[in-house]
């Protein structure tokens, strides 16, 4: 199915839309061309989704294919698992990614394992979209970044788009991947814009993107942190520091090769993500690099800049300090490049 769509097409200069719009456009176009695709989640119909991603889709496709559920995260996830297992391509929405705590059994014990447990004979081609991240003042129970939990679950794939262009193309690949895919959308990213092709296109899963080439330091960043790292790179360029920013796009399977080659080139690595640092995805990247051929090229310790090891606080200022901001990336990158460690 994916063959139908162009891969990584160039983005037309003028067509700048937000990430919310890109996702909505992708969902609409996918549903228009494939009746096996449907949407399911809390308040995705007439409400349009808590972040507006599905706004208007129920008018076009009706309540059967844009399906509001009661507040029952386990059953709504099961609705995806069971329908995917029997010929459909469900796209679920977890209104806030935090609520996935109530759907872990269906995702981890069922969706991820069904194929393997049954000897490779069943498939669960579902996508679960999750609105993740802090910065909206919603405090500890509405601001989680839990992607590394799922990276740790064989059978699942984990995708984290970093802008509108990436979001649309990765969504298409996720829907037709044939496996259960966790698709984490950052809430602050929703309102950011960039150029996005109008037609459906795909960005392959498992392929990282060198979002910016540079020679002094590799930053591996995910989701909204790619944008922040690019901004940091712009600022540091003024000081003559050239950062390379690598966006893995897919956290599992991870494109080791692109990451390793970048570190071999720059000799230095900084990993940036919003999720709590301890136990997070940064550890996986650090460990892979430290075990890889790039190890011998490392000119400095591997550094991580993750979220602080704390729940997200409500207060606006505290909240900002709990996760990496552009200035934190600038400072950390500068230190690493200048040999402070």
């Amino acid at each position: 199915m994916l063959e139908k769509f162009p891969v990584n097409p160039p983005a037309p200069e003028g067509r700048v839309i937000t990430c919310v719009e890109a996702l909505r456009e992708g969902l609409r176009q996918l549903m228009e061309q494939d009746p096996s695709i449907f949407l399911i989640g809390e308040d995705i119909g007439v409400y349009g989704g808590a972040f507006g991603v599905t706004a208007g889709l129920v008018d076009q496709f009706g309540e059967e294919r844009v399906r509001d559920t009661p507040i029952s995260e386990a059953a709504l996830t099961g609705a995806c698992v069971g329908s995917a297992l029997t010929g459909m391509h469900p796209i679920g929405e977890m209104q806030f990614s935090d609520f996935v705590v109530l759907a872990m059994e269906q995702l981890v014990m069922q969706a991820a394992k069904i194929r393997f447990m049954f000897g490779g004979k069943a498939s669960v081609p579902m996508v679960m979209r999750l609105a993740a991240g802090s910065g909206t003042g919603a405090a500890a129970q509405h601001s989680e970044n839990l992607e590394n939990w799922f990276v740790h679950v064989p059978g699942l794939k984990v995708v984290m788009p970093s802008n509108a262009y990436e979001a649309k193309g990765l969504l298409v690949s996720a829907v037709y991947d044939g496996n259960p895919v966790m698709f984490f959308e950052n809430k602050l990213m929703y309102k950011t814009s960039c150029a996005v092709p109008e037609e459906l296109y795909s960005i392959p899963l498992g392929k990282a993107n060198v979002a910016r080439a540079g020679k002094d330091l590799t930053i591996v960043a995910t989701s909204i942190m790619v944008q922040r790292s690019l901004e940091a790179a712009r600022q540091l360029a003024a000081e003559g520091i050239e950062l390379e920013v690598v966006d893995p796009r897919t956290l599992n399977p991870l494109d080791d090769e692109t990451l390793v080659n970048s570190v071999i080139k720059t000799g230095k690595l900084l990993i940036v993500h919003e999720a709590v640092q301890t136990g997070g995805f940064g550890g996986e990247v650090a460990a892979r690099i430290a075990a890889s051929p790039a190890f011998g090229y490392l000119e400095a310790p591997i550094r991580r800049l993750g979220g602080k090891d704390m729940p997200i606080p409500y207060n606006r200022n505290l909240e900002k300090h709990a996760v990496p901001q552009v200035e934190d990336i600038v400072e950390e990158a500068r230190k690493l490049v200048r040999g402070a460690y």
Binding site: E42, D43, G45, V46, Y47, G48, A50, D68, T69, P70, I71, S72, E73, A74, A75, D98, F99, V101, L102, T136, G137, A138, A139, A140, Q141, H142, K308, D309, M310, P311, P313, Y314, N315, R316, N317, L318, H321, A322
Partner: protein, 339 residues
């Protein structure tokens, strides 16, 4: 169709009796607290509009009777309260300090949670107000633990846990009511059925009419009442609390009520009609109760206005307190995570 608020209306005789039992002082206090809640919510909305608070908030305008009638029918501060996301009203009715609530709402260091919790997580631990909740039905399993703790410690406390109609569709509802029932725990499960869980009406989210009827699945007695009549609320909760304290195990209550505002600020309210809202606004619990107090001769019309004005002043004072309070110091960012 009979309006739910009428269908489950308190018998007029009984209403009189309850009012009499309460007496003028308590009646006046009830009215004052309802006004205070209304004023708090209106101010919250205003502050949000001004950008002085951020995040999200869930206003309980229209549901004040439920908060006031409930808290006052249990032993606030001795019993336990587990609150939910639409919880400002219950917190105020419980008697938790309004200045510190407002400070929390504004993210200040003097707030109940030092500005870490915000609107969805206000707690007053010292007074056994165990906090509001950002996870729908998240406090139901906790209530089992609180009930169990009471049982093991052999006190005569009860645990009051608030949730919405939407929350009753979470698995946690089922597990918690079942567990509380088999162990006869002193838990008062209180469902504020305001007809919607975000955009989904009760009619769409379940195939039966009353959430209270789900008590039968667990052998839990239940009662439905007009949640917009503070006397009906008080009467039902009192009955439930007495039943629980007599050792008969948990009770499930369902207040039929309605929220006037959108679910939260991002809500365009396309899922309901203006007419429906108006019908319910005609059942505003505050003037209804004020009229009763006047009718009973407990208050004069002018008293009502004095009470109302006082409530709004209380909130102004709270805002002043909150505004004057310091922001949390970033140096304390990581405090309070571990004991």
């Amino acid at each position: 169709m009979i309006h739910p608020s009428q269908e489950y209306a308190l018998d007029p005789k009984r209403a009189k009796q309850v009012l009499k039992e309460l007496g003028p002082e308590t009646g006046r206090k009830f009215l004052e607290t309802m006004y205070t809640i209304r004023a708090f919510e209106e101010k919250a909305e205003e502050l949000y509009g001004l950008g002085k608070v951020h995040g999200t908030m869930h206003l309980s305008i229209g549901q004040e009777a439920s908060a006031v009638g409930t808290s006052n029918a249990v032993r606030k501060g001795y019993d336990y309260l587990l609150n939910h996301h639409r919880g400002h009203g219950h917190c105020i009715a419980w008697g938790s300090d309004i200045d510190r609530m407002m400070a929390e709402f504004m993210g200040k260091e003097t707030g109940f949670c030092r500005g870490r919790g915000g609107s969805m997580h206000i707690a007053d631990i010292e007074n056994n107000n165990l906090g509001a909740q950002g996870i729908v039905a998240g406090s139901l399993p906790i209530s089992v633990g609180v009930g169990l703790s009471i049982k093991l410690r052999q006190t005569d406390q009860i645990c009051l846990v608030i949730f919405g109609d939407g929350g009753s569709n979470e698995g946690a509802f089922h597990e918690s009511l079942n567990m509380a029932s088999i162990w006869k725990l002193p838990v008062l499960f209180l469902c504020e059925n305001n007809q919607y869980g975000m955009s989904m009406s009760v009619k769409r989210s379940m195939n039966i009419e009353n959430i209270a009827d789900r008590g039968a699945s667990y052998g839990i007695p239940s009662r439905i009442y007009d949640g917009n009549d503070v006397l009906a609320v008080y009467d039902a909760v009192k009955w439930a609390a007495d039943t629980i304290r007599s050792g008969k195990g948990p009770v499930l209550l369902e207040a039929k009520t309605y929220r006037w505002r959108g679910h939260s600020k991002s809500d365009r309210q396309l899922y309901r009609t203006r007419e429906e809202l108006k019908e319910w606004q005609a059942l505003d619990p505050i003037p209804r109760f004020a009229a009763r107090l006047v009718e009973a001769g407990y208050l004069k019309d002018s008293d009502v206005e004095t009470i109302r004005a006082g409530a709004y002043q209380t909130i102004e004072n709270a805002v002043a307190y909150a505004e004057a309070s310091p922001e949390p110091d970033v140096a304390t960012l990581m405090e309070g995570i571990y004991a």
